[in-house]
Every structure is written in structure tokens, then in C-alpha cells.
Amino acid sequence: MTPQHVRARASAMPFNSPAYPLGPYRYENRELLSICYRSDHALLSAVVPEPLLPASDAVLCNFTRIADSTGFGSYHIAAQVIPVLLPGGAAANYTRFMFVDAHPPSAGGRELWGFPQKLGAPSLKVERDTLVGRLDLGRLNIATASMGFKHQPLAGEDALAALSAPGVLLKIMPHVDGTAAVCELVRYCFTSIKLEGAWRGPAALSLHPHALAPLATLPVHEVLWGAHIIADMTLEMGSVIHDYLA
């Protein structure tokens, strides 16, 4: 294989069978349980990278069930997300930790956008009258969320506003000598959102300490609300909004 051929075909590793295809990535019936809780402002300020600023004392714990997605198939996500303000004051959601149970979205998420993903065992399912989101790592439970199933409707415009808020990620990729090759803030968003349904209800969340999944270091002081949203959407490629190495 000639060097020109390598360069022309290079998209991801392994070269001859990349771990993920190139997008756009369309999700059908993506189901989200989002729990918003109040945490500690000083701790939030210490973990949100400047020039981002925490928008409030709020943190989101999101559990997502994906049944049908381009190239990534069927999988689950659990994420800890912090509402922040971008330089200029626009609202966005900064993903602090994310766990998935399939490899292509993990490799592609990390390498393309900079989603801070690890492999774990997130889940989202209806258990009789309760929508239950869990994150397990090995045999240990890291997060358990519960919400009454479809108690009250959530206004469509509120659900669409939540899904269309831009996301922001801290993408880091090392060089082969261990130094940082990439260290930048990436902005991304979902488009072509088609809402299937959205609900509110009583919600609860517990987080448990773990050496390699330290979600509990942003403690739950008070659960503010829970939302259950089902929608089709497209994950777009991102753009760099800040380069820490420049």
C-alpha cells in the first residue's frame, strides 16, 4: 500500500477496518432520563475548565437508551453533565464523565469529538411503574436514578430546548511520547430533532464513590427535576472553540 493510498483512506484505526464509520450519526427513538440536581458551587468551579464557567450550582445525570444509531448500533450511555456558560455568555452543557457499553461510540466519541468516555454498564429501563437509570462498573453500582413513569407531560418547547442546547467537550489526545497533541474545547450539537414524547415526574438519584468513575465527587444536595424525553436526532460533527496549546 503506497503512502498516498494511506493518506487518502485514513479515517480511523484499524486502517483496514476502522473502529467506527464516518457520520453523520442519526439516532432513532433515542430515549433520555435526565435528572437535574443541586451540587456544591466551589467543587463545580474547580472541575469546569476555564474559559467555561458553571451556569449555576446545577448538575445533570443523564441515562440514554439508544436502540438504532448509524454505525454505533444499539447501546446505552450514562453521563454527568454540567450546565455552563461559553465565552460570550451563551448556555451550553459540558460533559464531565460519560460511560457507554459499546466500543464504536466510545472510540469514535473520544477520537472525533472528545467525549470523555469509558466503557461501563449503563442502562435505562422501565421497571413496572418506574423509569430506572443505572450505571454499573464491574460488579459495583456507581449511579442509580429513578423517576415515576410518564406522570405529567413536559412541554414540547422545553424538551426541544433541552435537546438543542449545544454541548461542549474537552478533547485531549496524547502524542506517542505522552505529551499533549490535542487539548481543545469542542462544541457540538444535535440537529433534525423530531420529538416523540416528553414527561416530568418525581425523581431521585444516588451516586456512589469509585476510584475510576468519580461522579460522586459532585455530591447530590437536592434533586431539582427529572425529565424523560424520546426523540429522533442527528449528532453533527463539532468545531474547536478554544485551543489550550495555542
Partner: protein, 245 residues
């Protein structure tokens, strides 16, 4: 967090609790089953990137148990390595690897450019046979077998084989999908302590899979097999060719 702290702490994602620690990565009691086979030279040539040169139409199919490794823990790996020559020195080009745990997959891909995917490899002794398997989801894609410790190999021969350089095609995309890094990386194993090496009768079967295409380098004839146990350190690598330059 101050921007200066972000820059100083930036090693891997997530920033606050990276998926893998920085090396050096020491492996204790690393156990290999390596089955060397003859394949189709035309197919092999189409898969190995220049400026690496193919020595002969040969592939090494490997199953590796790593019970004790720095930061990566206890895991198993399986994959294909092609003997190559670069600037007159012989080594191995890592074509594809399949592992069962996240930190060495993320770290392997992002630091060195190991072409790794998540799957279910295994290597164990079953009575008188050393058995290596690779499953991708519920589908079996590779089965290797070797008679257990039939003939001892000299330690020096094992040490020499482990001391050869490895080569990787590291590709990392930009956030717009275009290639950000596209490099040929060379790495070495060091501080090699050989604990034993054997050869014996062996067989290998590869089955087709859309996302784990090990069978696309077909087994025409099994040439030899090696079972070895050693302690080694995986060193960081160096870029020896930049495809984007």
C-alpha cells in the same frame, strides 16, 4: 479550573480521571501463543503500508494473556502481526488487535496507535492443549490450538524475538473527520525477562466477520507455533514516518 491547570494536567480524557495512567507499563507473566502461518502475498501487500516492506507472505496470529500489568490490570488480547522490514531492520507491523478491557484499548489507540477493538479473546490450558479463542459478540472468529510444552526453545531465541521493534499506523481524526495524525510509529519492549518458551504442533482456524476481518488474511499453511512467558516493559514510541507531512 484555571486554563493553565488544564494544560499542565492534560494527558488523556476524562481530564480529572483519565482512562489510562501514564507509563511506563510493566507486564508480569505475559503469556503468548503465537501461530505463524503462510498467507496470500497479494492480499498482504495491499494491507501493509509503505515504507514498511514485507519480508515474506507470513502472518503471526497471537493470543496474549496479561494477568498483571501497570494501570491496565488483568486482560487478554488477540490479533495479527506481519513480519516486516524498515530501513533494513526486521520487526512486526501490528495489523489488528482485539481486547477485553477499556484502558489498554483507549491508551493503546491514543498513545501509540495500536489498532485495537473491543472483543472477547481468551487463552487457557485445556488438559494437554493450549487453546486461544477470539469471539466478537456471539460469533467465534479465531481458534488456535497448540500441544502444551512439547519442545523447549532456547531463552536467547525468545529474547531476540521480543526485542524486535513493533510498527503501528497511528490515525487520529480531527473534530471535522479529517485526519489530524497519520503516522508510522515504532515501539520496543524492554527489560525482558524470559520465563520459558516452547514449540509444538499447532492449528489455526479463522472465520469471516464484517467488523473483525481476521479471515481476510487467509491461513494457507501453519508454519510454526511458539508458547512463551516473559516479563516485559512496553516503552513509549517514536514517529518514524508522517503521512501528512
Amino acid at each position: 479550573m484555571k486554563a493553565q491547570d488544564v494544560r499542565e494536567r492534560a494527558f488523556a480524557m476524562p481530564l480529572e480521571n483519565p482512562s489510562y495512567p501514564p507509563g511506563p507499563y510493566r507486564f508480569v507473566d505475559r503469556e503468548y501463543l503465537i501461530i505463524t502461518y503462510r498467507t496470500d502475498p497479494t492480499i498482504l501487500r495491499a494491507m501493509v503500508p509503505e515504507p514498511l516492506e514485507i519480508i515474506e507472505p507470513v502472518v503471526k496470529y497471537e493470543f496474549i494473556r496479561m494477568p498483571n500489568s501497570t494501570g491496565f490490570g488483568d486482560y487478554t488480547e488477540s490479533g495479527q502481526v506481519v513480519p516486516v522490514r524498515f530501513q533494513g531492520v526486521e520487526g512486526g507491523y501490528v495489523h489488528a488487535m482485539y481486547l477485553d478491557v477499556d484502558p489498554p484499548i483507549a491508551g493503546g489507540r491514543e498513545l501509540w496507535g495500536f489498532p485495537k477493538k473491543l472483543a472477547n479473546p481468551s487463552l487457557r490450558v485445556e488438559h494437554d492443549v493450549l487453546v486461544g479463542t477470539l469471539d466478537f459478540g456471539p460469533v467465534r472468529v479465531a481458534t488456535g490450538t497448540m500441544g502444551y510444552k512439547h519442545t523447549r526453545l532456547p531463552d536467547e531465541k525468545i529474547r531476540h524475538a521480543l526485542g524486535e521493534p513493533g510498527f503501528l499506523l497511528k490515525i487520529i481524526p480531527h473534530v471535522d473527520g479529517s485526519p489530524r495524525l497519520c503516522q508510522l510509529v515504532r515501539y520496543h519492549l524492554s527489560d525482558i525477562v524470559v520465563k520459558g518458551g516452547w514449540t509444538g504442533p499447532a492449528a489455526l482456524e479463522l472465520q469471516p466477520h464484517a467488523l473483525a476481518p481476521v479471515a481476510s488474511l487467509p491461513v494457507l499453511e501453519v508454519l510454526s507455533a511458539t508458547h512463551l512467558i516473559a516479563d516485559i516493559t512496553l516503552d513509549l514510541g517514536e514517529v518514524v514516518h508522517d503521512y501528512l507531512a
